[in-house]
């Protein structure tokens, strides 16, 4: 390329300028609540959709309560890991608004497919918050009933669940449960790193061509373990949707109101039969990737501080105070409730027994298998041979 002639290649074709920061550039966020706690009446998405919310004071307070509780329970789990009670914990710190906003936008009939970090959505689905701790403690592999709560098991293999969500949504469509106001919709959660996986791109293709009633909800928390967003993409993630044939929108993922508004809209579109869409919740992972990660190796403190100023809970609190929707007593009561629930959680985790070893043979097949029955019997006999000994 000739010097002093940026953007023109030697063949005279105009090459698009390739900024290194392409993926993170201008956030273009849908926002309804500023970091200072100012309410924005309505916001326009890239396709001209107007987003607004209209909550009662009680509902605003409820969202705030959710955010605080979810953060506190998450902090308790982190502490439990540090004390050796959990093998690992994937914290949602910083991502509460994206999870509570989208989680509360779900209707009872909607189905969610999470990763391993969606403790806030799990909470919104009415699942006992102790449930994911069994997985991370190593006593089970996820103990809740996905059918009952319409919240699938956690998925650790990156991106795999987006295809499950797509298939489920195709099933909803085939069952004739779309096209009405009370139809069913499906939501798939995944991270920015996951967008590199073949599975996720295949899910985009399938959902699109089968017009699946599905919302792809990407929490862009800026990192896949140590790798920054630029290692996964050169275009803003929400813009990918266009290439697959469905709308995409980027929302301020630290704004619970906007997260709610865009998710509710996308779910409603899906249930009405208008097909899939992609939401990129632009947020930040404030803690480590998991408790076994050391983020100081790959990110700087000033970046974390900059995001601290966008904290989802602080801004909601500022809003409630400014609008006099909540008083000091309310905030104190929420803190107290969070404290009580986390103490309760801790007690129950400490009391979680190890499974009986023989249970590892359970549920391999719905109707059993002769070989496995034999192995179980031998195993039991073998374990009994130690009884009474110091083993």
């Amino acid at each position: 390329m000739a010097k002093g002639d940026p953007g023109v290649s030697s063949r005279g074709r105009r090459a698009a300028p390739r900024s290194k920061k392409g993926a993170t550039g201008d956030p273009q966020l849908v926002q309804l609540l500023t970091p200072e706690g100012e309410r924005i009446e309505s916001a326009t998405g890239p396709d001209g959709t107007e987003y607004r919310v209209d909550f009662t004071d009680e509902e605003y307070r409820g969202l705030y309560r959710d955010l605080v509780l979810v953060r506190k329970l998450d902090a308790e789990a982190t502490a439990l890991q540090r004390q050796g009670e959990l093998g690992l914990w994937a914290s949602l710190l910083g991502q509460e608004a994206a999870q509570v906003g989208s989680g509360r936008a779900l209707r009872t009939q909607d189905m969610a497919f999470p990763t391993y970090r969606e403790h806030g959505v799990l909470y919104c689905r009415g699942i006992d918050p102790i449930m994911p701790l069994g997985l991370f403690r190593g006593v089970d592999q996820g103990g809740w009933d996905p059918n009952e709560f319409k919240f699938n098991m956690y998925t650790i293999v990156i991106g795999a669940q987006t295809l499950h969500a797509t298939g489920y949504a195709m099933g909803v469509h085939m069952d004739g449960k779309t096209g009405t106001e009370d139809g069913e919709a499906v939501i798939a959660y995944f991270g920015d790193g996951a967008t590199s996986q073949g599975d996720v791109n295949e899910a985009f293709v399938w959902a699109s061509v089968f017009n699946a009633p599905l919302v792809f909800f990407c929490q862009n928390n800026q990192y896949a373990i140590s790798e920054p967003l630029e290692r996964q993409t050169r275009v803003p993630l929400y813009q990918r949707a266009g290439g697959f044939g469905f709308p995409g929108v980027r929302v301020d993922g630290n704004d619970v109101l906007a997260s709610y508004a865009v998710t509710r809209h996308a779910l409603d579109n899906a249930r009405l039969g208008q097909g899939p869409s992609l939401i990129e919740a632009y947020t930040y992972r404030m803690g480590a990737h998991t408790t076994s990660d050391d983020p100081t190796r790959y990110r700087i403190a000033s970046e974390v501080e900059a995001w601290q100023a966008k904290d989802p809970i602080a801004r909601m609190k500022a809003f409630l105070e400014k609008q006099q929707i909540a008083d000091a007593d309310f905030f104190a009561a929420v803190d107290e409730q969070a404290r009580t629930e986390s103490v309760h959680l801790r007690e129950r985790v400490l009391a979680m027994p190890n499974p009986e070893p023989v249970t590892m043979f359970d549920h391999v097949y719905p109707n059993g298998s002769p070989e496995l029955d034999e192995q179980r019997a031998q195993f039991t006999k073998y374990m009994e041979s130690f009884e009474g000994s110091a083993h």
């Binding site: 190593g138 990156i158 790193g193 790959y298 496995l372």
Partner: protein
């Protein structure tokens, strides 16, 4: 000659460093291998010293890691791919068994894929699901791939360099629960040294029974042999090191002397490596055997929740129990 006491993980790191130094076409690629140095720090410091064109943080896509490495290999590079955990190799499985393994054959030898696929494998570290699997049989079953596993720091250091220097695509299984175990490592010995990559090795001589293992179970079997010696029984322990091709010369020789054989691995028993090994030993040593070849393996269940993995994994007691049974025939 330089000898240093290294953990198995650090020995791999040092071996990889040597490989990068020795051949400018060697590239390391994988998720988080750069700044972070890998989640187990096996590539720690390498990007800093060799740059991000030689130690490449890839997008989060395993099929992409292996598939692009195939292209790089065709182009003349020697990619060393890191798969973060055993349970995440499956998105790349198609590339490995359908492409990596077959290119040389299909091209009648004109295309070489000198690739190493490093996988931390096996259990015993209290991890959540998908982090403790033993996928070796899937790969060993595929012609065109070679599969090896190191069990101690010296082998880690030597074998990783031998693997990188080899023209074969190699699945290199690292016993993750042994990453932190230390031993003196001779750093300057010749690479083609006493033990070529595809050879097994007697790690404890004995006369009464032969115990065959690889990767994480070698340590377990050595401990079992120590315990057995206290009871007056001398076990010969052989580290197979190479799972495909299987080098059973030392094993045949040993079983012909001892008359008894136990094969140990973490992977489920059904159609595991132990089945193949038992069959071959039976064929080769039939008239010397005092009892059937026994296997001690993981159970035929998915890898269980970590609080019961101790019961799932073969341990010293289960190995000794099997040895006892070979004597009870």
């Amino acid at each position: 000659m330089a000898t240093e006491t290294l953990t198995l993980g650090k020995a791999l790191n040092t071996g990889l460093r040597r490989a990068l130094e020795n051949d400018p076409k060697v590239v390391i690629m994988g998720e988080d291998v750069g700044k972070l140095g890998g989640v187990f720090r096996i590539t720690d410091g390498l990007q800093k010293d060799f740059g991000d064109q030689r130690v490449i943080d890839t997008p989060l896509a395993e099929s992409g890691i292996i598939g692009t490495a195939v292209g790089l290999a065709i182009r003349g590079f020697r990619p060393v791919c890191e798969i973060q955990f055993d349970g995440f190799v499956y998105p790349a499985y198609d590339q490995i068994v359908s492409q990596v393994a077959k290119m040389h054959y299909r091209s009648q030898g004109k295309v070489r894929i000198p690739m190493v696929i490093r996988i931390p494998f096996g259990g015993g570290i209290g991890a959540v699901e998908h982090h403790s699997e033993s996928p070796e049989a899937y790969f060993a079953h595929t012609a065109g791939l070679k599969v090896v596993s190191c069990a101690n720091p010296q082998d880690a250091y030597t074998m990783i360099q031998q693997a990188v220097a080899s023209d074969d695509p190699i699945v290199f299984l690292e016993p993750k629960r042994r990453y932190w175990e230390k031993d003196p490592v001779e750093l300057d010995g010749p690479l083609s040294g006493a033990y070529p990559l595809h050879s097994s090795r007697v790690v404890r001589p004995g006369t009464d029974a032969t115990v065959l293992a690889y990767g994480p179970m070698v340590r377990t079997c050595l401990d079992a042999a120590t315990a057995a010696a206290e009871d007056g029984r001398e076990l010969e322990v052989i580290d197979l090191r190479s799972l495909s091709p299987l080098d059973l010369t030392a094993a045949y020789e040993s079983v012909k002397r001892t008359g008894r054989c136990v094969v140990v691995h973490e992977a489920p028993g059904n159609l595991g490596l132990g089945s193949e090994i038992a069959a071959r030993i039976t064929e080769e040593c039939f008239y010397s055997l005092e009892s059937p070849v026994l296997r001690v393996t993981g159970f035929d269940t998915p890898y269980p929740a970590s609080r019961v993995e101790e019961e799932y994994l073969p341990d010293l007691d289960r190995v000794l129990d099997a040895v006892d049974r070979t004597f009870g025939w």
